[in-house]
Structure formats: C-alpha cells, structure tokens
Point group: C2
Chain length 467, copies 2
C-alpha cells in the first residue's frame, strides 16, 4: 500500500497531493514499471478519502503517461525513471569480523562442525513441537524460559558438570551478550571487574560497552593466576576454568580452591564461570565445574549451546545463586524471555530423548580424532602444542626461529590459512612477550583437511623450524 501524507489544510486539493506523491514514487523508482496500483476503492478506504479523489489523481497520472489502465484489471505503472538508485550510499554492512581475504582453511577458534549435527532428528522434533504444542507456542513463556527445559538443563548440569542448581535458578537467554549484559546491570557497572589476560575479546567488549574498565589477571599453564587477582581490587571476576580461552589451560586444583576462597572472603565478590566448551574434554578425568565445588552462592555459571549444537540457535543460559536470583526477578520484572518458545520446546525434546548426550559423545570422538590428526601432523621439532586437554582449539608455540607472531600469521594467510596469534587476545596489558604462539581452531574440518592444512602451514613457515 502507498502511504502519502494528505493534509486537507494545505492549499492544493487532496487529489493533487495524492497525484504528486504517486508521481514522485514512480520517478524515484520506488514504484516500479509494471507494478499494479491499489484499486481506487481500496486506496480510498485505506486513505480515508473519497473515491473521486483517487479517481482524479489516477486520471491525471494516466493522462501524463505515468500509469495506464488495463481493462478489468486496474492501473499499472508505466514509466520508471531509474535515476534515483536507493542503494547508492548504503552503509557497508558486511559481517564485521569476517576475514577480508578468501582462505582455503579458516582456523579461527570459533570453528564448529555443523555437518554432523543430527539435523534430521532436530527437524523431526521441530515438527513434533509444532504439531503437539500448536497455538500454545504463541503464548509468552516464563521470563526465565520454560520450566521443562530448565529441568532438563539442571539434570544435565548435575550429571555431567556437577553444578548444583534448581530450575528456579536458571535463566535462559539469547546468548552471552544478552545474559552477561543483564548480569552486569544486576551487579552494577560501578563494581570492579577483572578478566583473564589473555582472554575472551567478546567478554572484554561487552564489559567495556558497559563502561567498565576491568583489571587484567595474567594466565599461565595452570590457568588464571589467582594470587594476582588477590592483589587487584576486583569484586567480580570472569574466568574460564575448564578450558581457558584462549590458552587452553585448565585451572589447577590449588587455584580453584584459592579462587573460591577469594570469593568468600568478602561480601559482594562473585565468580563468573564461563564453561563454554567444557563438554569436549579429551585427556584426563572430567573436571567438574567450579560452581559445584562448595560455594555455589559465589558463582554465576554461564553456558551457551553455540558450540555443542549450532551457532545459529542462540540459546544459552546462566545459573544464578539464590540471592542474586531474587534480585534478578525484582530488577527485570516484566522482561520477556529472549528465546522463542519453539526453540525451547524443541531443545527440551532433544535433551529429554537422549539426543543431546548422544550428539555430544559422537562429537567428542570426532573432535578428538581431528585434534589427534592435526597434532600429529604438526609434530615437528621447533613446534609445541599447548592446551589440548579440552575444547575445539589449541595453541601452537613456535619455540625456535626468528619470525615474529605477526609474520607467521601473515605467511599463513598468504598460503591460504586464516589463524590468529595469541597477541590478539591481550586487551589491557602490553601483549605477550614469550615465543610466538598461534591459536588453531580445528572444529570445522575433517581429519584429512586438517592434515593438509598442517602441511600448508609448515611449508609456509619453512626455514622457521630450521632457523
């Protein structure tokens, strides 16, 4: 429908205003050649003007050749002067984080395999959700997400991560940006925050977008240096204990205890535990989440299904301690759950019927094979693999040689491989001083592809391991 502003108070009669408007629409190309205009009756009723107003405007336009009548069919646009092209000064809106060049292998840490996602099952469960719940799907859900899904999550969390939570403590939401954002609003932007260094650029960005300048706590092979955290004035710390991002370190038992103690020493201290790819653990015993280690009132646990299911699903959740949960309900009263009920019901079925567990087991085997293949292909003197206990990426240290991190990245890029150096993950302090370290995300490729990628990398860096 066309929507001109027709003003009876203006000097020109209404039909002329309508005529002017439609003419401009045609000239600018917004009404295109061959397009059908609304019938006189429809337009008159829509614009709340008399039918003769529309008739006169259409007649005038037809007279001047802008539109023409087809018998028993209506009026059609005749000439479109296509001078005005609306796309001319469009905002450049490419995916901002996409690499500029085109690469043969994109080894970014966020690479996930979606080819093995049991899509047929998911589609079937989706259809079942549609037919079983029907209209029910249209009703607004509980602000924290549907109860049954929260129950599934609790069961899973307890069985596999030893997280102690009740459904009432779970908040389901559309990804970390939103959930962490809400939590920051809850805890307050005036609080002192700390993050791991090197760490998650996205978490850093979320914090700084809230005007927070966090303290930076160094990370070594045992994970975050808790003794350094104790020297800051931070009250809230974001940490990735199961698989430090990006170094891959697992927070040691001693540090875990120290961290929980730090949190308990003062009122208002909280640990934000990001358990982002904990389910893919390859070596050693399962490491339970911090949340279940004795001070659940001090830990907010974050999880997203982006890596274990698919990035496009936009379902994550957080587990809040009970006291924070009450404050949350107070503060965000009237906020809606940000995940559509359809996805929630479908995920619920997927978990209840055992598909989630099976999928994780399958992917774990698959990813382990890929990691093994790639690590083996990179087992060359001068290179060292770090942080491969868990997760979908590891770190490759180039122990000898003269090339800097940036040169190695650039050489890889020229050979068609996208990867990043550890230096990119330092947000606050000077950057990394050790030998060059590269982050290798292997989740998105098959074993044979990874072996080829490794060969390309080693070729590109030739001279380096010999240097």
């Amino acid at each position: 429908m066309i929507t001109p502003i027709l003003d009876p108070a203006r000097q020109e009669p209404l039909y002329e205003q309508l005529y002017d408007f439609i003419k401009e629409e045609i000239r600018s190309g917004r009404l295109e050649e061959g397009e059908k205009l609304p019938s006189k009756r429809t337009l008159a009723s829509y614009l709340k003007v008399s039918r003769s107003t529309v008739e006169m405007a259409y007649a005038q336009l037809a007279d001047e050749g802008y539109i023409r009548a087809k018998e028993r069919s209506g009026f059609y646009v005749r000439q479109a002067e296509r001078k005005f092209r609306r796309r001319q000064d469009s905002v450049e809106a490419k995916t901002p984080s996409a690499p500029e060049r085109s690469y043969r292998y994109d080894l970014r840490t966020s690479g996930v395999d979606t080819a093995h996602f049991p899509f047929t099952v998911w589609a079937r469960l989706s259809r079942e959700t549609l037919s079983e719940y029907g209209q029910e799907l249209l009703r607004a859900t509980h602000p924290q997400g549907i109860e049954r899904l929260r129950q599934c999550i609790c069961r899973y969390l307890y069985d596999f991560r030893r997280v102690e939570a009740e459904p009432d403590q779970i908040v389901i939401g559309a990804g970390t940006e939103y959930l962490l954002g809400l939590l920051i609003q809850l805890l307050g932007t005036e609080k002192k925050y700390a993050v791991e260094e090197p760490g998650y650029p996205r978490v850093h960005r979320i914090l700084t977008n809230y005007g927070i300048h966090p303290a930076y706590v160094p990370v070594d092979e045992e994970g975050m240096a808790v003794e350094a955290l104790c020297r800051t004035d931070a009250q809230i710390v974001h940490v990735t204990p199961s698989h430090q991002f990006p170094t891959g370190a697992v927070l040691s038992a001693g540090r875990r205890e120290a961290l929980l103690q730090w949190a308990q020493e003062e009122e208002g201290r909280y640990i934000l535990e990001d358990d982002y790819d904990s389910e893919f653990r390859f070596l050693g015993k399962p490491v339970p989440a911090l949340q279940g280690m004795g001070a659940p009132e001090k830990v907010v646990y974050f999880y997203t299904f982006a890596k274990s299911l698919a990035p496009s699903l936009r379902i994550g959740y957080m587990v809040l301690p009970k006291n924070l949960m009450r404050a949350w309900q107070e503060k965000f009263q009237g906020y809606s759950c940000s995940v559509p009920s359809f996805e929630q019901y479908t995920l619920c079925r997927f978990m209840e019927q055992g598909y989630y567990e099976r999928h994780l087991n399958r992917m774990k085997t698959l990813y382990r094979g890929r990691q093994d293949a790639l690590v083996k292909a990179l087992a060359v003197p001068g290179f060292r693999v770090i942080g491969r206990d868990a997760g979908l990426h590891f770190m490759l240290e180039v122990a000898s040689g003269s090339m800097k991190e940036a040169e190695l990245v650039e050489k890889a890029a020229r050979a068609g491989i996208y990867l990043r150096g550890l230096g990119d993950y330092y947000a606050g302090t000077g950057g990394q001083n050790g030998p060059p370290r590269l982050l290798i995300g292997y989740g998105a490729y098959e074993e044979t592809q990874l072996v080829e990628a490794a060969k390309i990398l080693l070729d590109a860096w030739k001279g380096e391991q010999e240097g």
Copy 2:
C-alpha cells in the same frame, strides 16, 4: 552420568571416594530407587579410572544394600532415603508480573489475540524452512539478521509506515529489552534521556536498569507536550507518536514538526520512536511514522512483532540512522544476532508470501469490531472513552462520582476483572490529578465476552455513575 571429583592425592583410595560419592547421591535422593547405574566399563572409561576401582566401589555399595545387581542387566539403586528434598527452599519464581488472584477477564493492555494467528500457515512455512534450508539453518547469520528479512521489513515499512530505510540500517533482535539496551550502550548512559509521563513502565525500567534517571515530559490529548520537552536538558527522548502509551493519544501534526525541529537544533539529539501497535489504526487517515517526516538522521525507529504476530516469537527490530549504524557496527563487532535463523527465515516467507499483510488486515477488522462492541457497552453517562483511534487498548475516564481510581480497580478486581488505573503509569512525577482513568486492553477477548466484561464492570461500579 555421575561426575564425582576423584583425587588420587587424597588419603582414601579412589574406590572409596567413588563409593562415598554414590552413597551420598542415593541418600540425598538424587539417584532414585530403581535407577540404573552406568556399567562398570562405561563409568571407568568416563572417569578415567581402572575398572577394578569401579568394581570395588559397586561391590561395597551392594554389600551395604544401596544398590543391587540384576543378572545380565547391571546395577540398580535399591534404597532411596528421601529425607533430602531439593525443592524445599526453592526461589519463588512465578511469573512476576502475573496478577495474584485468578480473574474472569484480564483486561491488561498487553492482551493479544493469538487464537486467530494463522498457525497452520506458520507451521507449514516452518516445515518448508526446515526442508529448504536444512543445515544452512545452523550457520551463524549476519549480526543484524538475515538480509532477506531486512529487505522484507524495509518494503513493509516504506509501504505502510513511510519509513525510509535500507536493509543495512535494520538491526533484528530478540525484543525491545535487548535492542533498546544496545542502543543505550551506543548513545551512552551519561546522556540525558526523557520519557513520556505517563508512559511505558518497561521502557522506564530498562533505562533505570542502566542507571539513567530520565526527565519526565507530560502528555495530553495531543500526545507528548513537546514544548515541555524543550524546557528540559534532554538529548534523547523516547516517544510513542502513533498511539501514546498508555493514554492512546496520537501526536498532533504541529507537535510532530516541533519534535523534529527540537531534534535538529542540536547535535547528538535523537528521537526514539516506538511504533509498537501502529498497524491497528481504526479511525482517521493512516499516520505515517515520524521517521519518514524529513529528518531520518534524527530518529531511531523501534518495532516488535509481539502484538502483530505473537508474544512468544521474540522478534523485533530497530532502524538506525546511517551515522549511528556505522557506530553500531564498530561497537558491537562480534556480537551475534539474537534471533534464531529459523524464526527469521520463517517470518521472511510469511511476509514475502503476503500472509503478514493479510493477517494484519484480518486482525484489524477483528479488533475494530471488538473495540466497537466494548465501547458501545460502556456508553453510559458518566464514562468517557479516550484514545480509541488506534491500538489494542483505550482509556476509560470516570467523569463523575466519588470513587478514586484505586477503588474502581479494586471493585473491578473483586468482580473478577483485572485492569489498571492510569496512575500506575506515572514513574517520576506525582501521579495523575484528573478524574479516575482506567486502561482497558481488549485484544484478547471476543466481542460477546467483552460485552459481558463491560456489564460486570458497570455493575461493580454501580452507584458511581449515578453518584
């Protein structure tokens, strides 16, 4: 699976640690009577312990009667001491905004009819989306939402709301809370904001949750009093021009111009136009959006599909001026789109194939009939209906009589009808001083039901219109 922390460094042997853990699980009722334990082989492999460790723990548990072996089947939990009930001190997590009592008619302003949503069509399009896009649905989408949906939205906005926008200026997101939150982060919490008074409690809550103390601009029958806005030091104003919430006023032509002029007078001033139920306009000519009235660089346009489609879909969008769009892309680099690709593709089909327009037309007719029926039923001396030009609620003024707003609300509640008084929507200033005004949301009920509800109301307030 069960996930104990087994620590070889502890004094007790591993099997004893495992035994202790499982015993505690059974005692607490977390492992329930009749539940099957993992096979020895599975558990040993999962925990990375020897099979004999598991064997010894299971044997001990069986000896003590906690579990028992069934031949060729495995081990099962035998006794569950159900002393520990985890649900005991659960956080009360009822939907916080739900009315406490149970009502016969819930006339809240957010009432929407979902019974007439063309669910069969939506379900069919959903199935088509699943089969056509398949695995594609798993990939992360453009951070602003899929291009095709943004194109549909632009077309609709231009045709019906006269909003001038290109797909690159649209950001699709999971509802107002998230989108307005991002915008506040973009514009800055240190800026001066203004809201309508009375106004949208949720918008007020979102602002205050960001630590913002807005200025309050009064509203009369012409909408927001722009001359009062000019006397504040506000730089950003949130306004509902098409159908002021909650009074139902439509911003007059003169005020529209004044508002745009105000925004243009100083750099950094912006109008946040909330066009929340503009599609349901019943009287007078269509009123185009402010955004298209000549200063699109000064207006951020907000829309949610919660009322026109269904509250559970969680799809909304905002249209940013180009300069802000560039800043948005910079600031939120790496943020994911918060709406699942599945819903985006399905909505896209729904719009492209003309169902959206048809649905809106149908609902408009339906809602208009409901409004008419209810207004007619309330056409009694002493009552006056205000703000019925558009939208799914109007205001009922009780012109004469001695009862206060709160009493009228309470009497209605006792008679089984939930509604709210205008006073509830004053956030900053003293409240409303005029005659009692009640907000009546009629979207959720059929005509005959509304007529009955009106009868109940008038009965409950008897004596009032006679007083």
